[in-house]
């Protein structure tokens, strides 16, 4: 049974890597911009829908991937405008876009909730076919390297710095002449573009675009981000490595899912399991702080020197 499990591992690894790309998008909003963006539940499916519909209609797969990315960017733009120009709190702005995207995604897929795409008929770049899984993993790895390299460069530029400053300290950003509204919008655009692109990969991997493929995506993305941080934050200090940690988190998440399914967890209970995992991992740093805070207080009352 163990051997059998090992043999089945490449599939969750590939799937985890695709979700890892998605998690990189979540990292940009959740960590860099300090915004919890729920648009991703919709934009992931938008990416899948755009890619499948374009590919089925004979468009080159790479152009279809680019189109998926751009569609995600537009979704991010809308959330950004709702947040900054309509003054709607970020979470609610994301929920509004996500809800609207449900209809948009159905429109893209011509009213069908599920649009299949066959790896035999179309020249897809990734697939869950066990015979080509090595190639799939290599392709996803290359995409990950490109995405991380581009983001690493971008967040080291003047413009990238201004987005990081906006996420770190709004008052400071404004005092230094940064238009914080436009930087928030830009961050949401980039994030959702990446998420939609991973949706395009996911649709190819699973052989279809489904209207529900993004349901709970934010939770899986957060799970990947947080698992990566909890396990690797001590050794991964550099920004590029922090992004890589998201991918590692995604892979670990999917291996764990494969294990619990193997152990007999009903697939219907998977979402509940995911939510519980994320809740616990979100709670960990909080509990740690609380405990450490108490410890510090005692240290102080015992004559410890407070941090100057």
């Amino acid at each position: 049974m163990f051997i059998e499990f090992l043999q089945s591992l490449p599939s969750p690894i590939a799937q985890g890597m695709i979700w890892g790309i998605m998690a990189i998008g979540v990292y940009i909003t959740y960590r860099v911009l300090d915004v919890a963006d729920l648009t991703v539940d919709g934009s992931l499916a938008t990416g899948g829908a755009v890619l499948v519909v374009l590919t089925v209609n004979g468009i080159n797969i790479y152009i279809a991937m680019l189109a998926a990315f751009i569609a995600g960017c537009v979704a991010g733009l809308i959330t950004g405008i709702l947040h900054t120009k309509f003054g709607i709190p970020a979470i609610l702005a994301g929920i509004l876009t996500q809800l609207a995207l449900y209809s948009v995604n159905l429109l893209i897929m011509d009213g069908r909730a599920n649009t299949p795409i066959s790896g035999r008929k179309y020249n897809l770049i990734v697939s869950s076919n066990i015979n080509t899984i090595t190639k799939t993993i290599i392709v996803i790895a290359i995409i990950i390297v490109i995405v991380i390299a581009l983001l690493y460069y971008f967040f080291g530029t003047e413009l990238g710095h201004s987005i990081r400053a906006t996420g770190a300290n709004l008052a400071m950003a404004r005092a230094n002449g940064i238009n914080t509204d436009s930087r928030k919008i830009l961050g949401l655009i980039i994030s959702n573009g990446i998420v939609a692109m991973s949706g395009g990969l996911l649709a190819q991997f699973s052989g279809n675009a489904d209207i529900n493929m993004g349901r709970g995506a934010i939770v899986i993305g957060l799970a990947a981000v947080i698992i990566g941080e909890v396990l690797l934050s001590k050794i991964f200090k550099n920004f590029a490595l922090k992004l890589l940690a998201c991918v590692v988190g995604g892979v670990i998440y999917y291996i764990v899912i494969a294990i619990v399914l193997k152990l007999g967890l009903n697939a219907n209970n998977l979402k509940m399991f995911s939510a519980a995992v994320v809740a616990i991992f979100l709670g960990l740093p909080y509990w740690k702080n609380k405990y450490a805070g108490k410890f510090k207080k005692t240290a102080k009352s015992n004559g410890g020197v407070p941090n100057a």
Binding site: F154, G156, T157, E158, L159, G160, H161, S162, R164, A165, G167, A168, N169, A171, M172, A173, R174, A175, N176, G177, I178, N179, T180, N307, A308
Partner: protein, 265 residues
């Protein structure tokens, strides 16, 4: 260079929390003026600074800097005219970014931010020299995250950021109030040195009457949203805390309502 004409501001108008913060403030600063601003709690000192920087909008009146009317200009656009240091050491810097990255951000205030690298190696050298002058040992910690610094160190870095580009006006909003006395004195001394060396025009809000008297060439006192005293030149040099308190009582008809200021004499 700065003209403030008849500024009014009321917070929460029409509610039980209505607060008249500024009640017709008029102020003209000349180039090179270093004005200290004192007044009791709620006198309108910080509100005045926040009006100038655009953090709050004005109800009526206008603000003109070097002939440019900035009354309705968004905060991030008028930021190029000002250097700012805040009361809370956390406010002026981005904790999750490196010291050099913070300085580089400030160096690009008012300029278009492009896809060029955010910090050049030439800049790093320059910042290293500037940090060395502070004498806080920060020159060896260029790539440390600002969040690791103490409050005083953060205020010193913010001060550098605020003055990197020779702002038209430097605004110091009780920037030493949150620091311990020794660090506070050091940051004040650095502020004064930079203002003198760069010949900056500056406004410094302070709770400390001695500091208000010691520093700058001009002193204004605010009460209930108005400027009630404006002392400069020889007269300011002769000031003592006692005469200042006496003058306050004379003009306002009440006692100076600020324990903190009295205690810190």
């Amino acid at each position: 260079m700065l003209e403030i004409i008849d500024i009014y501001k009321t917070f929460n108008p029409g509610t039980i929390n209505e607060k008249r913060a500024l009640n017709g403030v008029n102020l003209t600063l000349a180039d090179g003026d270093f004005v200290t601003v004192i007044g009791g709690n709620g006198a309108g000192k910080s509100t005045l600074l926040n009006m100038i920087t655009g953090a709050y909008s004005v109800d009526s009146g206008s603000i003109i800097i070097d002939g440019i009317n900035i009354t309705n200009m968004p905060e991030h656009k008028r930021a190029k005219y000002f250097g700012r240091v805040f009361q809370d050491p956390m406010t002026g810097t981005a904790a999750t970014m490196e010291i050099v990255e913070n300085l580089a951000l400030a160096a690009r205030r008012g300029k278009r931010r492009t896809l060029k690298f955010g910090v050049t190696s030439k800049e790093k050298e320059k910042y290293k020299e500037m940090l060395k002058v502070l004498d806080l040992g920060l020159e060896d910690r260029l790539t440390s995250k600002v969040g690791l610094l103490s409050g005083g160190q953060r205020q010193a870095v913010t001060l550098l950021m605020a003055t990197l580009q020779n702002p038209k006006l430097l605004l110091l909003d009780e920037h030493t109030a949150a620091l311990d006395p020794k660090t506070s004195a050091k940051v004040l001394e650095i502020s004064d040195r930079i203002i003198k060396n760069e010949n900056l025009t500056a406004m410094m809000v302070t709770h400390n009457m001695n500091d208000a008297i010691t520093y700058g060439n001009r002193l204004i006192m605010m009460n209930e949203g108005r400027i009630i005293l404006d002392i400069s030149g020889e007269e300011k040099k002769q000031l003592t805390v006692e005469t200042l308190l006496h003058k306050f009582e004379e003009v306002s008809g009440s006692e100076f309502a600020n324990d903190k200021a009295l205690l810190s004499n």
